[in-house]
Amino acid sequence: MNTASLESPAPKPAREKERIKKVSIVVSKGSLDGVYPGLIMANGARMDGIEANLFFTFFGLYAVMNGYQDKIQISTVGNAAMRVPGAKGFRLPTLLGLLPGMSAFATSMMKKEMERLDIPPVSEFVQMISDAGGHLYACKATVDMFHLAPGDFVPAMERVLTVGDFYELAAGGEIIFT
């Protein structure tokens, strides 16, 4: 019996949907809510076979710096949308946000929720994105301004780039600034 004739082929999509093939994401902020969106978007891109570059600049550099990755916190000061104890709770008065330990407390609350959703700590996430074939770079202007050297970064950070290098790498894809 010829089984081939019994197989039905995969249906062809009505029209080829246009797909994003490459994203280059700039992470410029060093707070927890400044760092994670870029990491989640880069990881999500790789999960769907989209090429992903991450470019860390200014305080975003802490996401790829040895010894600082998992010290990233939510800012409870100057964060006008901050509510306690949850997203639909009371607005946190600015002065209370100043109290010692408030940032650490808010961070630990959010980290618990993130762990529940399988969102890894920054250090693990950065390595995961690198293992997934994502590329991570540091901004040369900030590295010079902060007096840093390549040895200050985790191995997943591939190299220090100038803005020109970044645009070259980003060619043909989308650029997202976070």
């Binding site: 019994l6 197989e7 249906p11 999500g44 076979g49 959703l117 399988d118 995961m128």
Partner: protein, 105 residues
Amino acid sequence: MAIRTIANKALDFDAEGFMTNFKDWDVEIAKTLAAEEGIATLTDRHLTVLNFMRREFETKGDGPSIRRLTKESGVPTKELYELFPGGPAKKAARIAGIKKPHGCI
């Protein structure tokens, strides 16, 4: 919904090409779906991933996140991406006969 015949079985697929009933799945079906995703040979390592995804789907009703998959199946991230080039999340779920996973990680 579309019915397709693979390995002498009539199977129901959703609009995105995922099987709607994971219990209809077998390895022969997986081989055909894998070939459609550009994977010529299904190895034991592929099957380790597929079986883990199916177990997760059966107990939790959704496919695992990549993080859980790599931590608990014993297939590290790098290998996972080599096994399912071009995006392991949806590809592996489709070949495993489960619905499209809903997680972001």
